[in-house]
Symmetry: C2
Subunit: 180 residues, 2 copies
Amino acid sequence: MARDRRGQILDVAAGLFVVTGFKGTSLQDIANGVGCSKASLLYHFSGKDAILTELLGPVTAELAELDARLAGLDGEEAVRIAVEGYVDLVLRFRREVKILLDDLEQMFRHPALGDVHQMVDRLVDALAGGRSADPAARIAAAMVLGGVAVAGARAGETADLTDEELRAALVRGALRTLDH
Amino acid sequence: MARDRRGQILDVAAGLFVVTGFKGTSLQDIANGVGCSKASLLYHFSGKDAILTELLGPVTAELAELDARLAGLDGEEAVRIAVEGYVDLVLRFRREVKILLDDLEQMFRHPALGDVHQMVDRLVDALAGGRSADPAARIAAAMVLGGVAVAGARAGETADLTDEELRAALVRGALRTLDH
DNA sequence: GGGGAGTCTGACCGATCGGCCAGCTTTGAC
DNA sequence: GTCAAAGCTGGCCGATCGGTCAGACTCCCC
């Protein structure tokens, strides 16, 4: 069983990070999952951060690669490569992306937010154009959900737009995403 | 100064939650910011969660309102109202959205991820079609960033698409968002 | 002045966390 | 068989957290 403790620890840690987030997972949780002692984890890894670093290392490496590939490009071609590269990155490291997003997901489950989850699900339905929308429409709806939130929050930093212009840009972008 | 301690606590807490996240902010931090004792916070609020609940209450209320408005609608009109309602929601409660997203932002600042931040900025440049792209293009680029990540992570749950179909849907959606 | 309600505080508590360490057991080369 | 290295563990530590509590202070009504 304990043929490769290091790999086993990484597997268990990744699984737990996805479900309960990085902060929300204690070394004891990982040790319980692995079936060893907490001290054993710290024999294989210098600390909790080291586990996360090793899990996310490949992601940053590939992102750096994409970054380098984009450095010499410009215009239309750069956009296409950026889009495809980013999509591939997210899909290839879906588990790792989930780890990053899960601290957020966990916030959504916070009692302070009540049954926001179900309302968000219904919002996706509406954006997709009905409960029985085709899969591609549901994906576009999910993209709008994340895209507007991220862009809206990010826009606060670079305030070179009025609120009205920002609103219009977000609405137009969302409708384009939904192919409307 | 301490005319309305309750409001003052909420203000300081919101500011700290945005910068250091909910989990990353201790009651002592809030107390220091307010200039009172930690015990005083717990006199005004039943606990740390109660502070978050009061901060996020208006958001969930408005989301519930949008949810109700969508209940009776269908088709094209539902999409338009969902999009505009959601955009308005995000913009009106930009600070609160930032609180939700900041636990994520903080993860991005984790040493394990190195200088991912700068690479992400350059990725936005590429997606927007150049460093000096117009503001609307930059917003669309930010939407792609968040949208693909959220949709990609979410798609893992409802696996009614092959990876190739999922990839194609994400790429098409991203290009639509960017108006390409 | 008396006294009750509202406000605030320092000291303290139990729980949990990440991490450290001395020492035990297992393994494998010689 | 020997013995050193590798692997592993229980027990412990300091720090931090959210939360409790008895008491002190202020203000205002009588």
